[in-house]
Symmetry: C2
Subunit: 345 residues, 2 copies
Amino acid sequence: MRHLSERQETLLGLVVHEYVENAQPVGSERLVDQYSLEISSATVRNEMSALTEAGLLRQPHTSAGRVPTEEGYRYFVRQLIGETELPADEKRLISHQFHQARGDVAEWVQLAASVLAQHSRVASLVTAPRPEKTFFKQVELISTQGRQVLMVIVLRGGEVRQQMLTLAEEIPADRLDEWAGQITRTCAGMDASGMAAQAGRWTGLAIDVIRLVGEVMARADAVSSGEIHRDGLTNVLAQPEFADSESARHALVLLEERSFLEEVLAKALSPSIGGVQVVIGGEGAWEELKDCSMILARYGSAEHATGALGVLGPIRMSYGRTISAVRYVAGLMSDLVVESFTGSS
Amino acid sequence: MRHLSERQETLLGLVVHEYVENAQPVGSERLVDQYSLEISSATVRNEMSALTEAGLLRQPHTSAGRVPTEEGYRYFVRQLIGETELPADEKRLISHQFHQARGDVAEWVQLAASVLAQHSRVASLVTAPRPEKTFFKQVELISTQGRQVLMVIVLRGGEVRQQMLTLAEEIPADRLDEWAGQITRTCAGMDASGMAAQAGRWTGLAIDVIRLVGEVMARADAVSSGEIHRDGLTNVLAQPEFADSESARHALVLLEERSFLEEVLAKALSPSIGGVQVVIGGEGAWEELKDCSMILARYGSAEHATGALGVLGPIRMSYGRTISAVRYVAGLMSDLVVESFTGSS
DNA sequence: GTTAGCACTCGGGGGGCTCGAGTGCTAAAC
DNA sequence: GTTTAGCACTCGAGCCCCCCGAGTGCTAAC
């Protein structure tokens, strides 16, 4: 399977392209017509035969056209795609949309999902950016009703968490402020374990507050990602491979199953930020997405916060287009994260 | 169509029940067999004929069994369902799950969606509880990096919003605290328009802060609901009426189209809390959900906060079961909202 | 009012047919 | 040696047709 001739590579590329477009096995004559090839259909047949031999194409049945195998798609993506870029006008449009949404993280995430879904025509996933590890910055204690107190915990990077706390006895607001100020001054910059260690050194109300803050931070550190924002679910239903409800259901289950998505995101994105990961047909590791591909990227920056985004669609997907869309959106999101952390307006 | 005999009502009920179970037109003989009726199939045929006349049943084609019409379902729900209750053990299970999740609003919402999806076997929707109108309670100004300031806005009821603000010049943290304290003391309890009116009376930094707070509050008042949490999307794909991908897509589009859901939730739930609204087949008002039904309820309490929840599924739905599930979950959510506001632990 | 009997209807499913796109092979041409 | 025309062969998709049986409405008897 090593060493495809240049012509074979070209033909593989054309088969992939044609199949992605039409969702139908592509035959030799068709190919010659469609792309005005200089060679005859018989030659194409010979080459196709070789590609089939090499495991890059297959025939759904004897005497039907050829279809790329998973291996064929992988070869295509690895060797033939090059560095496709989104058209400049699409880039401009997307970047414009992102500039509109500046300011609100939740909005970015939603927008990224929507943009990906629209430009890739498959289902998209985006998680909000989160720091690798949380550090305490500030706490506010706000009395609500009787002995109920709302704790507002601010983490480094500006993430805000809230948590209710019930006091043993009512405490006036100014005393609460005082406590909060003391705790903030003393504990600023600590991580979850640091907070846990602190608790013992305090008395009264502060013990509970610090313990709870520590718990909230530990919980935040434990989950690998927040909510996973989805969009474009209906796109995958439009694909002919999901025409029968059984396979459609199967694909949708993947997209609903949070734990599965988390696992995939975690495993596929362990490496580094910037690169785009392409998982074609489960790669042997995930039986569940046998007929699906995912294109994933991590965004953000390691010292601030990172998130993940990507798409999930049928194996028969426009990889060039989709990969560049994922890469571009990941880049924009990275910029936004860095911007919002370093405060350059 | 007025005045069905008791026997006719019984038969209508049985047809609905049988059709909901099997998704196939039900014939007279089948009905007699299945439910060991004391009357002959010919009699059943006569009654069915009358029900068809009355517009409550219809035949998919001449010489097929009967299927309830939309009107038939409505009659069934209005007159025949009674006050079905979930079995006690299911109630106990659900209530137990909710007690586990106490404390975090986002968790309730997610749990409610999951429970509804599981017990109704269709797709569920839940919005987070929100107050009718927001009132300012407190603001904190937290310096992050250089001239970037994170505003944390606490609203009555404990809802927390955050908003970035870029200063004209750097201001030390203790000055920020001072400003925040002043604004909080002066403006506590105001609504969005009150805040807007305030802005003019201040100077410097405070103008921007108050203006932004006002905007955030106005924005919060404008959207009728926050994010709509969904679950059980795959359930609807399992229904035979959505076997072909076209209708499945159609249903999924409804569930993805935020604006549509908001409209439906708003219109259907204008009345009051507590009651369960059943929208069968669009009721003429929504062409889009021609083949779907929604069962919706508002939860919470008017003076604190309210949200909406419900399910969307095919018209052929187990109304008794689903209505009681929606009612029960709405009740639990209402309790949680009230509890969390009044602070009774 | 109820029911047995009966002729009639029509959709679904299975079998068989054709059609055509596509293949692999061979032998001739370049 | 590679390319290509020619050709026999394959096999699934689509179509037609037919049969079957569940179900109906009607009529006449109970």
